[in-house]
């Protein structure tokens, strides 16, 4: 664990301990979750460990708490350990830790400011992407970039977050905007972002990431829709690898929409990633598109079925070479409020959903069938 992470972890622990000893029980709340998966793939590609032989290298464990200090100030923090084949290593990290100041609270609206390491709302699922209970499926759609290092730019940022909501006769409108400070990235993280083939060796930094989301939900959330953006630049100083020093500018815009019925939810999200690379001979810009359509059918409060069609064009200029289509069929069983078991079949045509770092030697195969089952507990 790096030094800032250890520092934040100490602060988290101290804050939580203070919260426990000094607060009333109803002003403090712990939460936690743990989930473990088994993956099996056919077709030659590995997903999270050697899944062609059956892999258990995918788990998520988190522990957090929040404490309401007074009417306008509250503290929240969470530590997380996640293993996902070669793309994540199970190390414990401070996922978020922030102080939340409610600047104004009126009967129908509020405005607040969060300072620290904050979670980034992006699309419907990014803010809680590592919790099985809040995802529609075990593996997220491609626009969340689970298979590549890009996911690491999404989860949280160290900085300031302004948020607010407004209840009115048409529903609820809310917004969140995050201004992150510059941050260092490990060489491995940066290598994952630019392809995961070991070409990038050196020092990388994340420059002024900006996240923003505007969401509108109808009364009772029969439908909701929103726009999310992410803009950041990655600076890289080479230290011996194939990739020379340079920078990568990334801009992502996502549009989300969901319609909820008594037993059915229909969700669609579209994301456009525009990246501009400036690494000497490896320079150029690229536009990548992702789009999915998903149906969740809640047959009973305990059983949910899922179907999703998910398409990504890795490079809009080369659709035939970079196109990936994934059909997902899933089922979820919640025997009790705290327990869930989910199982999924992913039929993949294309390689965008395949983590390159789990397949370092083999060239990637065009077709993959993947079975995943995951059990989870929460409190």
């Amino acid at each position: 664990m790096n030094k800032p992470a250890i520092f934040i972890l100490r602060i988290t622990t101290l804050t939580l301990l203070l919260g426990v000893s000094g607060g009333h029980a109803d002003d403090f709340k712990w939460h936690g979750f743990a989930s473990q998966a088994y993956l099996y793939s056919t077709g030659g590609n590995n997903v999270y460990g050697e899944s062609t032989d059956g892999s258990t290298e995918f788990f998520e464990v988190g522990l957090g708490g929040q404490y309401q200090l007074n009417n306008s100030l509250h503290l929240a923090g969470q530590i997380l350990s996640r293993d996902a084949g070669a793309t994540d290593n199970g190390s414990i990290r401070a996922d978020y830790l922030y102080a939340d100041l409610r600047i104004a609270q009126l009967d129908e609206s509020a405005l607040g400011l969060r300072v620290g390491r904050v979670r980034n709302p992006f699309g419907f699922y990014n803010a809680t992407r590592d919790v099985l209970f809040t995802r529609p499926s075990i593996l997220l759609p491609q626009m969340y970039y689970d298979a590549t290092g890009v996911r690491e730019l999404f989860f949280s940022a160290d900085g300031v977050q302004l948020y607010g909501y407004w209840d009115h006769s048409g529903g609820t409108t809310s917004f969140t905007s995050t201004f992150g400070r510059n941050d260092t990235l490990s060489s491995k993280t940066f290598d994952n972002i630019v392809g995961g083939n070991g070409a990038a060796v050196g020092k990388a930094a994340l420059k002024n990431p900006i996240f923003a989301q505007l969401m509108h939900a109808s009364l009772g959330e029969q439908w909701k829709a929103g726009v999310s953006i992410l803009n950041t630049t990655l600076d890289f100083r080479a230290g011996g690898g194939l990739l020379p020093s340079g920078s990568l500018e990334a801009n992502v815009v996502a549009v989300s929409a969901q319609r909820n019925f008594a037993k059915l939810s229909v969700t669609a999200e579209y994301a456009l990633l525009t990246s501009s690379a400036n690494f000497g001979p490896f320079s150029g810009s690229m536009k990548s598109e992702s789009l999915y359509l998903q149906g969740e059918f809640r047959a009973t409060p305990r059983w949910t079925a899922l179907i999703r069609l998910d398409n990504q064009l890795g490079d809009r200029e080369r659709p035939n070479e970079t196109d990936t289509l994934i059909l997902t069929l899933g089922a979820r069983w919640a025997p009790a409020r705290n327990w869930q078991i989910a199982a999924e079949l992913h039929g993949m045509r294309g390689t965008a959903g395949i983590p390159r770092s789990d397949n370092p030697v083999n060239p990637l195969y065009a077709r993959t069938e993947l079975f995943v089952i995951m059990g989870g507990f929460r409190f």
Binding site: G64, A76, E108, R119, V131, F133, G220, R337
Partner: protein, 167 residues
């Protein structure tokens, strides 16, 4: 032969008892889930906002609104997810679906952005808690179809209910 006759008469007696039990059960005033109309209950000391409405209730139970106008913390109590009164409260009062509310609570819990309502197992316990907890709000079963949608509980003003609330 005697034992066979005795066994047949025992079977008949069991069948008759079963039939009587069934008839008895049918005669009981059973309530279907539709009959279990919810009624909002509020601690007697709470000073409701002047424009209190379904919209306010939605903001409270989704966790967005955390304080009453006088600054007191709102303490919301709910029944379990599959309780018929909770289901009806979501559908008829909040005009939302129980799973949507659960998703909002999960989002708050796992992002650390709010403390969701506390789940209480029975209407009796919930009523008792709202009566005794300053700033509390919850719901129970509506006993009287002509009564108000909202009732103040605990203290001497327990009988007081506001006249017309814009539900």
């Amino acid at each position: 032969m005697q034992s066979v006759g005795r066994s047949k008469s025992r079977q008949r007696a069991v069948a008759a008892a079963f039939l009587v039990a069934l008839l008895g059960m049918a005669a009981l005033p059973l309530h279907s889930a539709e009959d279990l109309d919810p009624q909002v209950i509020v601690h007697h000391g709470v000073d409701l906002p002047s424009n209190f409405s379904t919209s306010t209730l939605r903001a409270i139970f989704s966790g967005r609104m955390q304080r009453w106008p006088n600054g007191t913390r709102i303490k919301a109590f709910v029944l379990p997810h599959d309780h018929p009164i909770h289901q009806n409260f979501c559908r008829k009062v909040l005009r939302t679906f129980p799973y949507v509310l659960q998703q909002q609570w999960d989002q708050q819990t796992f992002t650390g952005s709010g403390i969701p309502p506390v789940e209480i197992a029975t209407t009796y316990q919930l009523h008792k808690l709202v009566s005794s907890t300053p700033g509390a709000i919850g719901y129970g079963r509506k006993h009287n179809s002509s009564g108000s949608w909202i009732q103040f509980v605990g203290g001497e003003s327990a009988q007081h209910t506001p006249g017309a609330l814009p539900f």
